[in-house]
Symmetry: C2
Subunit: 313 residues, 2 copies
């Protein structure tokens, strides 16, 4: 029987993990953040009242088995012309149109999955329409994921707390996937804006605790100014552990491979630094090694992650 | 060997003929009007400088072999919300995005055909970007298909002449399809705005004359105020015969079945009347009969047309 693996997150992090694991014989489900409110997604949320399609789209593309490369290019295509179209992503428009046609978001994802020949499931973490809020250490309140993500606040101030309003309930399909899974992978991804919104959903902590799955958290490679400025690996792990309950994580995957200075340079301009670690406690079990891809942007290598994950479960 | 049939036209007329013929074992090509400049298509033409996607889309849907009904619903979906999206048709947006991704219109149609599992070919009548012009009997000049189609001119005035500017050359693929065909079907469709723009393309008349195909013109069911006000079947046939050369048509298909008065009533409100015929000359051979579908809008019955066409070739 194929190993059931659930990947929880949002943005490119989910894409990386899924696109690595899909090359092995696994039964994959992506549980995806529903708090995105920026760009094309934000406009569609506001104008159509739908759940955010952006992270759903990335997960669908990651799980597509179609050998038609144009289809994923199309799904990721962003209009850069046209008074009303500029900035809109084609895949987001498709999910929106399918939601109108079928009458609900889950059916829209199902139909988009068929068109893209998706092998696996993409599950919104919640079906409730909520916004993400954050409070900073100086008491500043920030409303909306985009405003936290692309800070117009002082990026050196630490985020003290994030929450969803109105409160959101876990999607029963996400709960079932987690309960049935052999492994649950959390991250990588923007800690407060892509990962935490999943863990804040009511019922998520309980589902993770009740599940017999190995729970593996993949620590980010780089800090993000305004969100995780100055964070060490331990800081990341603490935020996640506090959110889901101290004993719940089994493994944490931490990169210790140094990228070239040339690759680090453009990150430095954005005050984004390589994440390091000190003395790690024995629990959750740290898996420290080279998880870096060799070229271009500093990202995890999908295959290195997949191999490590499969060796742990 | 399958019978090669080319259908020339635009709008819902092409859709009707193709969706009838596709149920028989035929090798179908649609040669499609490229002068549409209204609505979603007009905006995309203006903003992206592409050829008009609207009639291409209708032909693609007609030829789709996909058993996924949602896919054709999606392709025909029109956004009715959103500041920038309202009025845009999803299929048009897909063709536009594919044109950007692949770099040309023909490849975009090819890729859209793959996604929709199209059996047959959809061929723009020209690859030149032209506008349709018309002059009325009082000398008024009208620019743009939409302005002819949805007249803000006096609808009782006859259209004296239509032409393309800049002049357009026949697409070599359209020419080849016509030369190779066993039958070429012209119409039905709006005479001056969907059918004639195809025949005005330089090289079309010569291709039709050089082809050994049987040439069959399907006369419309109803007149259109502002375009064919007061036209008889003979008037339609004369416009087509004059455009392609007197001897070129082999058959003309004319409906003589009267719809119910209830069905005619809403057309009367738009000054659209049932087309009748008087004494028809023996050439082109008139095929007069019941070609009406039984329900809803007054349209040709796709299967009645298909059966008659196949009996003639």
């Amino acid at each position: 029987m194929k190993k059931k693996i659930v990947v929880i997150g949002g943005g490119t992090g989910v894409f990386t993990v899924l696109s690595g694991l899909k090359n092995y014989s696994t039964d994959l489900a992506a549980v995806v953040n529903m708090s995105d409110d920026g760009g094309s997604t934000g406009i569609l949320r506001e104008e159509f009242g739908i759940l955010p399609p952006g992270d759903i789209r990335r997960a669908l593309v990651a799980l597509s088995r179609s050998d038609n490369k144009i289809l994923s290019d199309l799904f990721n295509f962003r209009f850069n012309k046209g008074a009303g179209l500029t900035g809109h992503n084609f895949g987001n428009l498709m999910i929106t149109a399918l939601e109108r046609i079928t009458g609900d978001f889950a059916s829209a994802i199902h139909e988009a999955s068929k068109i893209l020949s998706v092998d696996g499931r993409v599950i919104p973490v919640t079906l409730n329409n909520s916004k993400l809020y954050a409070s900073l250490e100086d008491g500043t309140l920030i409303k909306g994921e985009t405003n936290i993500d692309i800070p117009n606040h002082d990026g050196r101030l630490k985020i003290k707390k994030v929450w969803l309003r109105p409160g959101a309930q876990i999607n029963p399909k996400a709960k079932k996937a987690i309960l049935d899974a052999r492994a649950v992978i959390i991250g990588p991804g923007d800690l407060f804006t892509s990962i935490m919104p999943n863990l804040l959903v009511a019922g998520m902590k309980e589902a993770l605790r009740a599940s017999k799955a190995k729970k593996i958290y993949i620590v980010n490679l780089m800090t993000k100014f305004g969100e995780t400025n100055g964070f060490s690996a331990e800081d990341f792990i603490k935020v996640i552990s506090d959110a889901i309950g101290g004993e719940s994580l089994d493994y944490v995957i931490i990169n210790n491979k140094m990228p070239s200075l040339a690759r680090l340079k453009k990150y430095a301009e954005e005050k984004s630094l390589l994440i390091s670690h000190g003395d790690l406690p024995p629990k959750p079990t740290p898996i420290v090694g080279d998880f870096l891809r060799n070229r271009e942007l500093i990202r995890h290598d999908p295959d290195k992650l997949a191999k490590t994950i499969l060796s742990l479960i």
